[in-house]
Structures are given as structure tokens and as C-alpha cells.
Amino acid sequence: MVLVLALGDLHVPHRAADLPPKFKSMLVPGKIQHIICTGNLCIKEIHDYLKTICPDLHIVRGEFDEDARYPENKTLTIGQFKLGLCHGHQVIPWGDLDSLAMLQRQLDVDILVTGHTHQFTAYKHEGGVVINPGSATGAYSSINQDVNPSFVLMDIDGLRVVVYVYELIDGEVKVDKIDFKKTSTSNSAP
């Protein structure tokens, strides 16, 4: 039972001051085993804050990140699943499923986590699943001004994943759930 927090596009301090307090009260240390971050934090203070929630932190570079050393893409294996991480501004058209599917095949991962659109989405295609955790602070994006803060928590348990989507809608935290599984550990394309 591995808990993986996926979030990104915080844009602190330029577009938002901080995470919503209701989110911060839930994100306590000790519960989460990994954090994967799609980028655009943008400053070191947020990096440090995320480190306090969980020491195992993976970040990729968003176009506004002040730390230039984050990689463009990252892949990691958690349990039986391979996860891929990319900010998404490199994939054009932004948020397009086909292009993201191409990236996913290129990275050869089961679950691809990208951001940039500041909009939560979860798609499934032949190569796997694409998840966009949205913006954890509700910062505006170039395409969308009215953004609900959101992030994603994945519970990876053997061959099954439960994705919990946390959204702040009208000041209240709403949680949704998505389940999926894979049948075998081999990663051959169908």
C-alpha cells in the first residue's frame, strides 16, 4: 500500500501565495511515501515544504521554475507500476491526448503524469493512463483563468491503483475516486 502524491503548477509566488489552508491541513508528514511534482513550483521554499511532507520527492522542470536543474522528464517504478513525469508545456498541442500518448509510449510507462493545463483530467488509452493533477493552488493558466485547486493521491497496492482526486470547489474539499488495475506485470504493448 504505497501512497503517492501528485501535484504541480503551484506558481508560488507569482500567481498564488500558497496552497489553500484546507489542503495544507490534510498534507501531514508520515502518511505519504512519494511525491511526484509536475513542475512550476516555482521557488525553493515550496520545494522545501514538499520535502517536509515526504523526503522522496521527484520534480520535473516547468517553464517558470527558478531551479534550472530539474530534468525535463522523469520515470520511476513504484511497486508494479511504471510512472512517467513531465510538465507538459513541451507537448504540443497542450493537453492533447494523442500527443501525450506519444510521449507515454516514448517513455514506456504505465501511468503518465503531466500538468501545465491547470485542469484535472484522467484519460485512458491503449498505452496506459494519463493523469493531470491540475494546479494545487488554483493559479491561473494561459488558457484558463478560473481554476479550482486540485491535486491527486494515488494508492498503489500490488496490481491495483486507486486514484483519489482532491478538489477545492466553493471553499469545500471534494474527493473523488478512480480505480484501475493491470492484469500482468509485463509491459508489452497490446
Binding site: 500500500m1 501512497l3 491541513s25 490534510m26 498534507l27 501531514v28 508520515g30 502518511k31 491526448l97 504505465d110 483530467t121 484522467a122 484519460y123 485512458k124 488509452h125 491503449e126 498505452g127 496506459g128 493512463v129 493521491l153 494508492d155 497496492d157 491495483r160 486507486v162 486514484v163 483519489y164 482526486v165 482532491y166 474539499v173 471534494k174 474527493v175 473523488d176 475516486k177 478512480i178 480505480d179 484501475f180 488495475k181 493491470k182 492484469t183 504493448a189 497490446p190
Partner: protein, 446 residues
């Protein structure tokens, strides 16, 4: 045969200022090097007195208990293997035990008094006897299989209910409701649909009724249990080491302690419970009967609960000062020592100011598991569990005997040396210790 004791002549009663102590321990100790341990069936101390150094108390004290006293080296006690094979007494006891256990309805009183002098290791019956003494198995043999089945399935139920991870529980709910999980790699393309869930059902929930919240709150207990189990008896391969056997034993012990902690929110887990569980689990797991050994975890759980029920109050801090708390038990021990050996008591508590709490706390709360070697403990526990009034009475008796047996050194020592002695109690002949304890108790009843 090397024994780390004061030389025999120092122990003689000649050196005492007061009249010799009521116990015969001095005379008893004197017999060893000079006389070959003869495996006679004789019952009184007098016949063993050797006529050499001061024969002051040549009084023959008839043994108070009506049972044949097994004062010699029993087949089991590790260190004193002087005897040439088991004595006739031992053999008769073994035969007696086997006969008793094979009856259809076991006479508990008989069994208790047989167990009082500790069970022989060779028979492999300890597991069954302990289960009977703790009330896990009823005396009627025919009811055993039914009882065992019921208890074992109850334990399995507890484990399922309390030890399943919240992930697992969530998936079972999903499956039972018939929801379809998405297959990761299938031909279709779609948006994954979401289902709204309540405030309690997600991992970050802080709600009181949330299974996730309870799960994370238990993490601290789980970690502590884990640490303690790993530290239990590191010298015994059964409990520690890299083998998969040791790991599975540790897993079982952790499960038992965790189920107990969750069922008893009042006391949860307290450090030391692992030490009390260790002998029980060891004995059950090493049962020569395959079936019993495989269910050792479930059996050990119930017996552990039973044993602990007499001592529960010692683990609750609020009850420390109450009539049932640990302080009162320590006071009782102190009173017991005073009654039997005033001189020792006075020297210990008044002159050298050795507060019994300094040593007796560990003796009592951990049931002497830390004071003797593991295998000696098993013998002591035979006697403890055989007490019909509960282990506490015997325990206090044995503690008193422990003090009396080293009275020479205690009286000769000051605070530091006494503390050192009592906190690292020297290795002793266990059967002798039990004999003395028994005598003390029967004296109390007189």
C-alpha cells in the same frame, strides 16, 4: 562443575548472628561438590547432609509438600547436568505426567501439583500442559477439537477485521458492489470516470470514523511493536536472525501484539508485553504435534490474553498506586520478605536503603523473564502457571525465595553491591529455587 557462588563454607550457618534462617537452603547447597549426586529416591534433606564442615543444623526437616520432592537435577534444567541420566524420581514423574495427560478427563488439581516442580523438557508436553493450566483447553479431552476450532477461527476473524490495510478494505468494497475497474491497457480510449466519495473514505482523511485515520494513528504502535519484537531474545535463533523461520515467528508475534493492542484500547501495547509473549509463543510453536504447532499463533494469542488478564493492572499507569497496582504488589513482596527473614529485610530496606522498586518492578511485571536464561524461565513459568490462585502468588513467593537464597551476599553488601546483585541476579539451580519458594508458601499457610 563450575558454579559461580560463594564458597560452601561461607554459606554455613555458623556465620550468622541470628538463629539460622527458617529455610534449609544452606544445608542444601552444601551437598554438591563433596557428595556425588546420587539418584536416590529419598525424600528428606537429612540424608543428604554431609558430615564435614559445621553440621550445626542437622535437623531433618521433613519436606512440607506431600508430593515426592524432586530436589535433584531434573531432566530439564540446563546447567546442572551432573546426574547420570534421569533419576528414578524423574522417571516416575514423567510417567505420572504422561498418564495424567492421556486420561479422558484430566484432573486439574493433580496436574497443577505435578507442574509445580516444573515439567521435564524431554516429554514435549509443555505446550499442552500450559494450554490446560491457562484454561485454554478444557479438562475434558473430547471437547478439545471443538474448542480449538472455534478459538482459531475467532482469531482469524480478528486478524481479518483488524489487520487488513485500508487499501484492501476499499478494494473489497468496490468488488462487492460490482463496480467495474478499468483495465490499464485495453483497446478503448476514454475519460476515466470518477465517483464521489465521502469525507472519511480517502487516505488523507482526519475524520474520527475514517479507517485511514485509525490506520495512521496505529502506525506509532506498530512501529513500537516492531522495534520490541526485533529486540526480543537476540541470542536465540528462534526469535532473531536472518532465517525465514525467525522472520515468520517475528511476524506472528507482531500480529498477536497488534491484535491485542487494538482490542484493548485501554492499555494498548506496553513495552514488555513482547517478553511475556515470547515464552508462550516459543513453547507452542515447538510443540511436537504438527497441527498444534501450525496454529501456534492463534493459541498463543488467547493464552497470552489469559496470562495478561491477571496482570493487566500493572500496565496501566493510573493504577500504579492503587490496591491492584504494581506498587501494592511490590509492597506485598516486601512484607513477605519481612515475615520470613526479618534480618534480611531490615538490612535491605533500612540499612542499605535498597528500595524494592529498583529490582522487583522488573521481576514482577516481566514475570522473571529477564532474570534467568530463557530455558530456565520456562521451568519457572511451569510453576507460575500451576498456581490455582493465579501466577501472582507464586511469583511473589519465588521473588522472596530469590532474595533469601542470596541473603549472605545481601547482608554482607552495601547499596551498590546489593543493587548490582539484584539487578543481575546470579544463575541458580531452578529446581532448588522452586523448592524454596514452595516451602515459603507452605509456611505461610501454616
Amino acid at each position: 562443575m563450575v558454579r559461580k557462588k560463594v564458597p560452601e563454607w561461607m554459606n554455613s550457618t555458623m556465620w550468622s548472628t541470628a538463629p539460622p534462617p527458617p529455610t534449609n537452603d544452606d544445608d542444601f547447597l552444601r551437598r554438591s561438590p563433596s557428595t556425588k549426586i546420587s539418584s536416590t529416591g529419598s525424600n528428606s534433606v537429612a540424608s543428604r547432609l554431609n558430615p564435614a564442615p559445621p553440621p550445626s543444623t542437622a535437623s531433618s526437616v521433613p519436606s512440607p509438600s506431600p508430593r515426592p520432592r524432586n530436589g535433584n537435577n531434573p531432566g530439564g534444567s540446563g546447567e546442572y547436568g551432573n546426574s547420570v541420566g534421569p533419576s528414578a524420581e524423574d522417571l516416575s514423574r514423567q510417567a505420572h505426567l504422561t498418564a495424567e495427560l492421556s486420561k479422558k478427563v484430566i484432573n486439574m488439581k493433580e496436574l497443577r501439583s505435578l507442574a509445580l516442580q516444573s515439567l521435564p523438557d524431554s516429554l514435549g508436553i509443555r505446550s499442552t500442559v500450559w494450554k490446560l493450566l491457562l484454561g485454554y483447553l478444557p479438562p475434558e479431552r473430547s471437547l478439545w477439537s471443538m474448542e480449538l476450532k472455534q478459538k482459531r477461527s475467532q482469531y482469524k476473524h480478528y486478524k481479518d477485521e483488524l489487520l487488513t490495510s485500508p487499501s484492501e478494505i476499499t478494494w473489497r468494497l468496490v468488488r462487492s458492489k460490482g463496480f467495474d475497474n478499468y483495465e490499464l491497457k485495453s483497446e478503448s480510449r476514454c475519460m476515466l470516470s470518477r465517483s464521489r466519495i465521502t469525507d472519511e473514505d480517502h487516505p488523507l482523511s482526519l475524520g474520527k470514523a475514517s479507517i485511514w485515520n485509525t490506520y495512521f494513528q496505529d502506525t506509532e504502535t506498530i512501529e513500537q511493536i516492531d522495534r520490541d519484537v526485533k529486540r526480543t531474545h537476540p541470542d536465540i535463533p528462534f526469535f532473531s536472525g536472518e532465517s525465514s523461520f525467525a522472520h515468520s515467528n517475528q511476524e506472528s508475534m507482531k500480529n498477536i501484539l497488534l491484535v491485542f493492542a487494538k482490542l484493548n484500547q485501554g492499555i494498548r501495547y506496553v513495552q514488555g508485553m513482547n517478553e511475556i509473549l515470547a515464552p508462550i509463543f516459543y513453547v507452542f510453536r515447538n510443540d511436537p504435534d504438527e497441527d498444534s504447532s501450525s496454529h501456534a499463533e492463534a493459541d498463543a494469542f488467547f493464552c497470552f490474553v489469559e496470562l495478561l488478564s491477571g496482570f493487566r493492572d500493572f500496565y496501566c499507569q493510573q493504577l500504579d498506586n492503587s490496591v491492584v497496582g504494581i506498587r501494592s504488589a511490590i509492597t506485598r513482596l516486601s512484607q513477605l520478605v519481612k515475615k520470613h527473614d526479618e534480618e534480611l529485610w531490615r538490612h535491605l530496606e533500612i540499612t542499605t536503603k535498597v528500595n524494592p522498586q529498583f529490582y522487583a518492578f522488573r521481576w514482577i511485571t516481566l514475570l522473571l523473564t529477564q532474570e534467568f536464561s530463557f530455558f530456565d524461565c520456562l521451568h519457572i513459568w511451569d510453576a507460575l502457571l500451576s498456581d490455582p490462585e493465579g501466577p501472582l502468588e507464586s511469583l511473589l513467593g519465588i521473588c522472596c525465595a530469590m532474595l533469601v537464597l542470596v541473603r549472605r551476599r545481601l547482608i554482607a553488601g552495601d547499596f551498590t553491591s546489593n543493587m548490582k546483585l539484584l539487578q543481575h541476579y546470579p544463575t541458580t539451580n531452578i529446581s532448588h529455587l522452586l523448592y524454596v519458594a514452595n516451602k515459603l508458601r507452605s509456611k505461610m499457610l501454616v
